[in-house]
């Protein structure tokens, strides 16, 4: 079986250990040298950077995140042994792991390391689609002759270089499409290298729970569960049309992904056309207060994403799905672009009010489109709304607090509705 030593990058035909360096870090798979879509995900990225820059922390549990009232942003694998997880409230994490060292995030250092990783990737292929600072898809199709080595070897070389030159480790997933590559990279963390071949795709997926599918959140999971769908093999028993009828466009996606079909290309300059967030309710609701709370929370998420990507939008879009799956959408073009949660929420709320009674909803979503650079956003005030300037300053202050102490460190009352 084609085998690869991840310690010395030697390729060979058989054996549990590398014939050259005797390392046990061997990856063997029948299709190892035939697959070219990869997903690389750094292991506990922020914590690894912190350990690299402060060797005293190396053997200690490290949590990156805000003060005692914040949340865990990333934790190292030592902390994970005690049960600490990311997004966990800090006090809970410290209860589980009292000896943990809490480090405040240093985004500059993470961005710098991320850039260095991206530069290494760029030497391998132009087909890079970054998902965040610490993970990216790579399409290495047709690069074997150029590099004199198949994609698997190149990916092993990438993570080896990252460890040696940057002091951070990563896990690789290699497969024949993005959906499976991303699943694979998560199978063997940290320092993992997993392969999902074409031949085993069906059999592998059938064993997995539906939540492994990207986009299946708590609400969809609950809806699927009601339909008796827990695992992907449950999904495979459904007819394509029935899934479509019951779950809309999501149904069709589920049908295809359950079969390991994913035609999406690795998009190097993945130009974002819009930023939106939506949520499906456990129970349909027409309660304006509940919907208002959702609108605000979603607007904050949209705004956060726009701010992270240095983008803003000239149009605010409101999406509502009724209990019978019929869709109502409303849009409003703004005079100038915005990335402010306050503005997105207010415009969305005005659209919601103007839409009148649309009946109980199963989903509500809000977004911005007609995107523009952040530099042109929110540049002019509103004569008739002198408080807007004050609210904008409040939002900037809130953002600073949230960046330091976690996204839930400070919230508006209406977020609790």
């Amino acid at each position: 079986m084609p085998s690869l030593c991840r310690a010395c990058l030697k390729t060979f035909d058989a054996g549990a250990r590398c014939p050259a360096c005797r390392s046990p870090r061997v990856t063997a798979h029948p299709e190892l040298f035939d697959l070219s879509i990869a997903h690389m995900d750094c292991d506990a990225f922020y914590a690894s950077v912190e350990k690299r820059d402060n060797p005293d922390l190396r053997d200690k549990p490290v949590i990156v995140g805000g003060g005692t009232r914040g949340v865990v942003s990333t934790c190292c694998y030592i902390a994970r042994i005690s049960g600490v997880r990311s997004a966990m409230p800090m006090f809970q994490a410290l209860k589980l792991c009292p000896e943990a060292v809490v480090v405040k995030p240093r985004f500059d250092a993470y961005v710098e390391t991320s850039r260095a990783i991206r530069a290494m990737m760029a030497e391998m292929t132009p087909g890079i689609e970054p998902l965040s600072l610490d993970e990216a898809f790579m399409d290495l199709t047709g690069t074997a002759r150029l590099h004199g080595a198949p994609p698997a070897v190149m990916m092993a070389r990438l993570v080896k270089r990252m460890e040696e030159e940057l002091g951070v480790s990563g896990s690789v997933g290699l497969s024949h499409n993005k959906f499976l590559a991303k699943i694979a990279s998560d199978l063997d963390k940290p320092r993992g290298f997993s392969v999902i071949g074409r031949a085993e795709t069906q059999e592998f997926l059938a064993r997995q729970p539906v939540r492994i599918i990207w986009g299946v959140g708590t609400a969809t999971q609950a809806a699927l569960e009601t339909a008796g769908i827990r695992t992907i093999s449950d999904l495979l028993r459904w007819d394509r049309r029935d899934l479509g009828a019951r779950f809309g466009s999501m149904g069709d996606r589920l049908w295809r992904l359950a079969r390991g079909e994913d035609q999406r290309a690795v998009a190097p300059d993945h130009r974002v056309k819009s930023i939106s967030k939506e949520t499906t309710f456990n129970e349909d609701t027409a309660d304006p207060d509940i919907l208002d709370g959702h609108l605000w929370r979603l607007a904050v998420q949209v705004s956060d994403r726009a701010k992270a990507k240095d983008l803003s939008g000239r149009t605010v879009v409101l999406k509502m799905k009724r209990a019978d799956f019929s869709l109502v959408s409303r849009r409003h073009a703004l005079g100038d672009a915005t990335q402010s949660a306050d503005r997105i929420y207010r415009e969305g709320r005005a659209l919601f009010d103007a839409a009148g009674r649309v009946g109980p909803l199963r989903l509500i979503g809000i977004g911005i489109s007609d995107l523009a650079p952040a530099a042109v956003a929110d540049r002019s005030g509103d004569l008739l709304d002198p408080d807007a300037t004050r609210r904008r300053k409040t939002e900037a202050a809130t953002d600073a607090i949230r960046a330091r102490f976690g996204t839930d460190a400070i919230i508006k009352g209406r977020a609790l509705r």
């Binding site: 000239r314 005079g335 659209l351 540049r379 002019s380 005030g381 008739l384 709304d385």
Partner: protein, 372 residues
């Protein structure tokens, strides 16, 4: 109905009618103009259910009667007839057709029953006064650029006409704003206008009204109620619903403590703004004003496309200031200035800026700055 009418007179009347009818509407009769002949007058009535315009013209009436016919089509026909032609309109009740004849041209148009034509309910006008066309023209013309097109703030989609205490005493005042700029124009209060309810005159009405106001000395009879406003000359009566909403309290928006004073030739200023804005390809082009003693530097810096700078000699004696504006807004308010210099009054780079036309206290403009 059978009438003969001079082509020029007909063209003007039908022109007014066809501009009121909605191009896209689902009610066929609303595309028509109602022609009514009696005595030696013909009236042309058109409506979009929000505005109704009635134009009366002299004609030779051989047989009194009424007919409705497509306003746009009749206008097109009359427009294409030779100047000076005498046009005969004859309605045939039996066939339901209207014949339009001029010289050797003959047209036969479909009609709709006159009974179906909606007539706007009359209103109890509480205030009636007369004003010269020139006065009303100035009030609306200078304010209308600031009307908002945002449907979410429908109450800004018009000009707020009301009675106010102006800087020179009681005034008939027109205000429009879209939240980015505001125009406040005053005229001495005409007799009889005291106690007039404030009304928001819709954008379309403001546009249509303009056609009534060409003749400076014409007397315009204005009637106002809570829900309607009517403007009438001897020939034309235009009635419009007003926007059912509350115009925001604009007075708190107009800055009173702006002390930094810039005086500049409005035309030169507008030309310079227009020139430097050329290099920006953004939709909202931002122009930076850098003010120092008697010197104004206008600059635009668009990283993607280029940069531009122009210096103007101005009168400015206050502290240095840098402030940005949307070029379009600056151009529009600068073009409101007729004869005098434009006088800008600034506070800080984040506060609303005031503009006046020289020493004229009857027109005030406010514009919101933009971060640059």
């Amino acid at each position: 109905m059978k009438i003969s009418i001079e082509r020029g007179t007909l063209l003007k009347a039908v022109g007014q009618a066809q501009s009121v009818v909605e191009r896209r509407n689902t009610i066929p009769i609303l595309a028509n103009v109602l022609i009514e002949a009696e005595g030696n007058t013909v009236s042309f009535r058109a409506t979009d259910l929000d505005i109704e315009v009635v134009d009366r013209a002299p004609a030779m009436v051989e047989r009194a009667g009424a007919v409705t016919v497509s306003a746009v089509m009749l206008h097109e026909i009359v427009r294409k007839l030779p100047d000076g032609a005498l046009v005969a309109l004859e309605g045939d009740a039996a066939s339901g057709r209207l014949t339009v004849a001029a010289g050797r041209s003959n047209f036969n148009l479909a009609t709709l029953p006159k009974e179906d034509f909606p007539v706007m309910a009359s209103s109890e006008y509480t205030t009636t006064f007369t004003a010269k066309a020139a006065i009303l023209r100035r009030l609306f013309d200078k304010a209308k650029f600031a009307i908002s097109t945002e449907e979410t703030r429908y109450y800004l989609n018009g000009v707020y006409m009301h009675v106010a205490t102006g800087e020179e005493g009681p005034a008939l005042r027109c205000v429009a704003t879209d939240g980015h700029r505001l125009a406040r124009i005053d005229a001495p209060l005409p007799d009889g206008a005291q106690g007039m309810p404030g009304v928001i005159v819709p954008r379309k009405t403001v546009g249509e009204l303009r056609k009534l106001l060409d003749d400076d000395d014409a007397d315009i009879a204005v009637s106002v109620s809570e829900t309607k406003v009517r403007f009438a000359t001897t020939q034309i009566t235009m009635t419009s619903k007003v926007i059912d909403g509350t115009f925001p309290d604009y007075s708190r928006v107009i800055p009173t403590g702006n002390t930094r004073r810039l005086e500049v030739d409005a035309t030169e200023f507008a030309k310079a703004v227009d020139r430097v804005a050329t290099v920006s390809s953004e939709r909202s082009r931002a122009v930076k004003l850098s003010l120092d003693e008697d010197r104004l530097i206008l600059s635009v810096n668009a990283p993607d496309s280029g940069a531009a700078e122009e210096e103007l000699a101005v009168a400015y004696a206050d502290e240095k200031l840098e402030i940005g504006f949307n070029a379009k807004y600056l151009l529009e308010i600068a073009s409101q200035v007729d004869r005098e210099n434009a006088v800008f009054l600034f506070n800080s780079s984040g506060d609303p800026t005031l503009m006046r036309e020289g020493g004229d206290t009857s027109a005030v403009y406010v514009v919101m700055p933009m971060r640059v």
